[in-house]
Symmetry: D2
Subunit: 483 residues, 4 copies
């Protein structure tokens, strides 16, 4: 059963213990509840589209462990081409769902990080994490499960390490080590797509030193494991998802971001991949971000594709040719292809890890993170510019008003332009949704902040080499070290 | 009664005929209904603060018609200093209410435009619009009323003029001329602050030629005039305003933008200031935008001030010094002072109109419009950058969850950093609100689109003069006219 | 003789002692030597144009000391309108000469700074500097002299104060105090327009504390004073000024920047305006930069006007309409009007000093400095973009080749497009000159570095006020001071 | 002799017929004449460094025709890795020579373009161009020659095609067809590195239609072929190359850009690769730009590396830590890696041509062209910002003055800071040279203008696909074609 059907996926979610809340309400069925159904629908596309040969090529690959066809989201990235396929799949999923499929991609990136990190741990420390991990992975591939990924801890006061905080739980940590596993306490926050996931892959939230070794912990759990409470966060305009009509224009995808509270959760030994090996906590994080910050360029490009299309549709509904906006559209293309291309470049210049994993170039990957934190804002602005006032903040009456028996006819009369009133409204709502609504993903800080990326750039860009190049060219013989 | 009290203002709104709808529901009392109370509260500050001598100096001036103290929002702008005071008041009101006071400022700009335009009409056409207008204005000053302003027509297909549209009503027009007044039909859309207004000042939506002369119409009406139906539009996250708690963090101000449907509304003669004089329709629009696009730099600066404060507060609640972000904060200051300063400059280099009005420099005013359509997006991005993930898209559980009896304690435990959980949440919600929530005003297209401003820049920047300067400097004797 | 003629000005320069060198050669006559004649020609326009009533209005004003008509460059700025006139004159002079008239404007700004600073010194310290200064100024106005200004010291190691340097001369300082005056040693570097000046006004290069009090020194000297040696610096493509033809396309203006070496120069008492009053050294610098960083926006706008004209001329010579480049031209206009406008705004929001001087707003003035250090680079890039390859780096054969008897005909045959070969070459050379040639002024660091401006912005932008605004709006009751 | 020695290369240049002029003077020996020696020195590095194993790996590859080791500059690019090596070599050569090695790289790109284009011509038209070309290429590889490339025609009036011009020679064309070859007349302009080249590869300057078929011409010639006259253009500050000392700080590389005049030059049949096949003229141009606009990102990155190093060196000589400028340096890194990375991405996503060539992705390649035309200007500005006034426009006395017996001691006394006066001057001169001096290459228009790149982006970015994505997401059923 290496490739599940849509029905199997939905059924697997329905069978889980309800442990997700929003608005102080327990969500009994994530596949039908307004707060979660759109994200489930979006993630489900990664199963549903197996039936479309063209999309299947994007979505699947062959397991290097078993030789079976598997979801690409469960594969180990072993070549630049695997990484290109990662970027391409993310861009495509964004185009199809209007948003990110975070509940698959973060888990995927996490397991790839741990694949290499456990290999190193076993090599250097004599542990058997890599074997455990491969066992789990083979099984996960066979089950074709959706796996969310979780790194970010609440962290508390940013100027103190986890163990120095007044409350030691502000980063997730081991509170008990048993022969058959570990017990963890704490939280992971702002975690995407948990509601659509079967399991959750946990990585340490940062690199740690010895005093914080209990925070160096990685494992994978069923989403509905005991003592785990999940609360979905608000997002812009999220109440519209409880309404009828097209004020939420996209139904084929949606974002959720959750807070996960671990109240002494027991993790069985075979699902633990790091438990105190603090020396490898930074390793795991770096392997994660190298891939993540490259491929996110594909996500952002896919989102930009939607913005371009939505803006041009609105303009056409207004009666305007896209030629009028050609410079703006061009800039949007440039922005999209820049984040996409830089991710490809980071992959192309990556290198092979002894474990067989393909690791992206850290410098290019982190440069891309900066673009990802910047260019989409310009793309959004340009979309709003093209779409006009009704796109800028979605400045139109609600669907309830649009269909009002009292005055809906007036709204429809006056919203008609070249396109029908409904087409115009839908197109403009899509601009709103993608630029200032529920469709805006948290790309700037997702996968780490731009300031973090700048630190990596500084560390990897080799300033002294450039200083030497200049010194030689200028014929300076004096040593001029950093003052 | 040249300066009303807060109670008088509220009372005046309560006494009006309910004719505003949202979500297919009639709003009986705009001062208490969740959809409108915050905008009323924001506008009310312009009355409430008369009691504070420092704010009163900002908010009031002396009528040049009567010598009485009046609200600045009802004054005629007659000097550069009056315009500086305009910019300063707008910035201040934004700081105090977190958002724009559109229901006063657009009306104010409209009446200033018509002040000069009616003067010219009377001079050139022998009409008596200016006298009518002054009569109304004196009365309006004495009553200290709040006046919204309305220019934007639905317009329909953008490639056709109003009379060429299939539906002639897609811009507001005169359908009947009577001895005692006119009857108008059509709509004005995306109109700010109507719910907080006593009256609405109507300007033509564009410059018209002879065939569209029935669209050249200006008048002022009570908001609750017969046959006028008003529907409030959605805004990002507007349903939160129906909830308790701090998910809408600002209660002292709020935006509304309405669609106004005129189903054969009768306007008495004394309140009509243009009725077919198409030659002056562009004049009225230009006089409006010269002032509007200058002073909006103050609004945007005030909003930027809030973004700076909110971002730094969040960072401090996270335990981080503002010094860490000093380059970003500096850029935010620069953006704010640029839009503010350019508005001041447009005023400083303006000129006196024969009517006594002070008109801003068109070139600088429209250059500012471009900054207003651009810089706040960067300021928002920087605010989200500084504030981190919880600010970027407000990625936190709802107030309902925050106070949940089941797990609210967990949320509060884990949201605590250097500041309390509540302070952190409130600060981050303010960042969300101001950058991707209900606090985002429609500044890019409000007062006309940036593309419109670019046309004005092109028309006023005198390219040929610069070409001649260069030709002379380069010693080119050949004529090189435009090919 | 309050307004000198061109001949009188030229004559005054010819009569000075030669003490300026370039390329190891003493310049006997600055008015004819290739290294200096263009800058003299540019500065001379400020005399020559007295004959043109329209330009005279720009260039002159009335002395508030004597009521006589005087050069604006010798006036005290006492109102916002005086500052606007400053910006306007600078923009105009740039348009007429293609470059900056630094030898008048820096001196002018310096004397205005010292006007207010001496007033304060006399008030607080009981000195009589202000009287001395006014005596000199009246005389200077009557003689209508050109006065360069000098602030920048060599400074040596930037991490040490002047008196801590190994070599105490690395900033200009007093080495002897005598009853009849002072003796100074050191240097001032990168000083504009000295070759065209009659006198040089010296300000302290920075704000000093007590141990550096000998560096707190201000005075004015004849350019050819004894023991002063001046060396002109290289500028891009400066050797072309020694050649014939249009490779240096502009003959009506030119830049010079000099190093001034003071080898124990004696300054008579009546020309000394600060001599150890270190508490006022920062004052003098700040008064200088407030005006300078505002008005430089006019210079940069004038330069931008030339770039627009030169680029469009080249395009026309190529056969292309400016419409093809309308977005780029518009952006150039926007950049020009932004620096110009921000300077106007700084003036408009300035305030009256007790001495009667009008002081620009420090925040807006320093925000403008950032724009001045940024926007012209974009304007240059756009000019090169429009002008094509021959404009980008002036990629054309030299004038010598253009007129070669061997193959000049080939060059002229192939350079002809819609315009003549010569017109095309001249237009493209002007683009080169203004964007990457001898016409590029040192605006980024002239008048202080952008990093210095950022410090002023930080100091004046009142971050805590904005934090309080946000705290109140968000309803945060907790104190959240800077960590 | 597949890899020549430095001496062999220099000797080959010395043995050529002198036909290059500058300043109306015939250059007898390009290897020693001040106008050309630096570019020869730069190009010679591609031979000289064969002795360094590490550099040799960058500079050489294996001929797919002969299996011999050859210069990479003479290889056919047959894989993404070949293209990465192209970008890497260009970046490295820029680091080593401070500038571009245009006389090798344009020829290389040209021959790669013609490799694929002749393959197609032979396939479709039955010509034997590909065979001819391979013969020549094998020989060229064996001789290890340096080959400049030339595309740009003078073009005349840009609104007319070549045959519609008043002067038909304004683009290079065939004036006679003979059995043994063709005779061509016209010019190619702004051609890099000709003085360092043994041969010149000619491509058509544009895509042509049938009436312009005589302009569809490609061939390769010895640089000193009969009837070819070459005139070197001026570049910024080029006269300094005739002087002693460090005012031109870089001696290991230099730029030349020449005008080539063809006065009825005869090209033997075996060296002609296109002669009238207008249908393939655009093909040849597109194959050129796909590779060129990708790899130029490497050049620009290498130049940026020099700017970073030069700026930081100057700052260190001033006594300042690079940490002070870390944000600026980071932005420079980001700019460099963006152009470099986008070129890599264009290669990675390229595809195999039937001829065996690897062709870069057109969309990404042209997006990169926009970055190449934009980002280096920001990098230059930042370098000038960091370096201070002496770097901004090289505001220092000349080398002649620096070493003056009269006052050189003063200059050296006062230019000393933390570094020696000479180090400071050299470092600042390098900033000047790289940002506003002779080291600035014509990257914006070299390889075609940004506006041309925008046309390609528009043609390849598939707007309608994005519109369909949005239409489906928004649930719009109505057709909304372009108005």
């Amino acid at each position: 059963m290496a490739l599940r059907s849509y029905d199997q996926y939905i059924d697997s979610l329905k069978r889980m213990r309800p442990n997700i809340y929003k608005f102080d309400e327990l969500i009994e069925d994530v596949t039908t509840h307004p707060a979660t159904r759109y994200t489930v629908e979006g993630h489900s596309k990664s199963y549903r589209l197996y039936d479309d040969p063209k999309e299947k090529e994007v979505l699947t690959t062959t397991s290097h462990l078993t030789g079976e066809p598997i979801s690409r989201y469960l594969s180990i990235i072993r070549s630049p081409e695997d990484m290109y396929a990662n970027s391409r799949m993310k861009r495509r999923m964004f185009q199809l769902t209007g948003t990110c499929t975070g509940g698959r991609c973060v888990g995927w990136t996490s397991l790839n990080s741990i694949f290499a990190a456990t290999y190193e741990m076993d090599e250097k420390l004599g542990t058997d994490y890599h074997r455990r991990f491969l066992n789990w992975l083979k099984d996960a591939q066979a089950r074709d499960i959706t796996i969310a990924g979780a790194l970010t801890d609440p962290k508390g006061d940013r100027t103190k390490t986890p163990s120095m905080q007044e409350d030691p739980d502000l980063s997730l940590h081991i509170v008990e080590r048993r022969d058959d596993g570990i017990v963890v306490r704490g939280a992971k926050v702002m975690i995407c797509g948990v509601a659509a996931a079967n399991e959750i892959f946990i990585l340490p939230g940062s690199g740690y030193k010895e005093p914080d070794k209990d925070y160096a912990v990685s494992f994978v759990i069923p989403r509905d494991i005991g003592n785990l409470t999940i609360v979905e966060t608000r997002r812009p305009s999220d109440m519209r998802e409880y309404e009828e009509g097209f004020d939420t224009p996209v139904k084929e995808g949606g974002i959720t971001q959750a807070y996960l509270f671990f109240e002494d959760v027991f993790i069985p030994r075979e699902r633990v991949f790091m438990a105190g090996e603090y020396q490898f906590s930074l390793t795991a994080v770096l392997y994660f971000i190298a891939a993540y910050r490259a491929a996110i360029g594909g996500c952002v490009a896919g989102q930009g594709d939607v913005k371009i299309g939505a803006a041009v549709l609105t303009a056409r509904a207004n009666g305007l040719k896209s030629k009028v906006f050609s410079d703006k559209i061009n800039q949007m293309h440039i922005n999209n292809e820049t984040t996409y291309g830089m991710g490809i470049a980071a992959a192309a210049l990556g290198k092979k890890h002894p474990s067989g994993a393909w690791h992206c170039d850290m410098l290019l990957s982190n440069v891309n993170k900066i673009h990802v934190a910047t260019l989409p804002y310009e793309t959004s602005r340009l979309a709003q510019d093209i779409a006009g006032g009704i796109g800028e903040t979605g400045c139109m009456p609600s669907y309830k008003d649009f269909t009002s028996s009292k005055y809906g006819n007036l709204i429809q009369k006056y919203m008609k332009a070249r396109g029908s009133a409904e087409s115009r409204a839908r197109a403009a709502r899509l601009v709103e949704w993608a630029t200032i609504g529920a469709g805006v993903p948290g790309c700037m800080h997702g996968g780490g902040s731009p300031d973090g990326a700048k630190l990596v750039i500084r560390a990897t860009a080799n300033l002294e080499e450039k200083v030497e190049i200049a010194r030689r060219l200028a014929g300076i013989t004096e040593e001029l070290p950093e003052p």
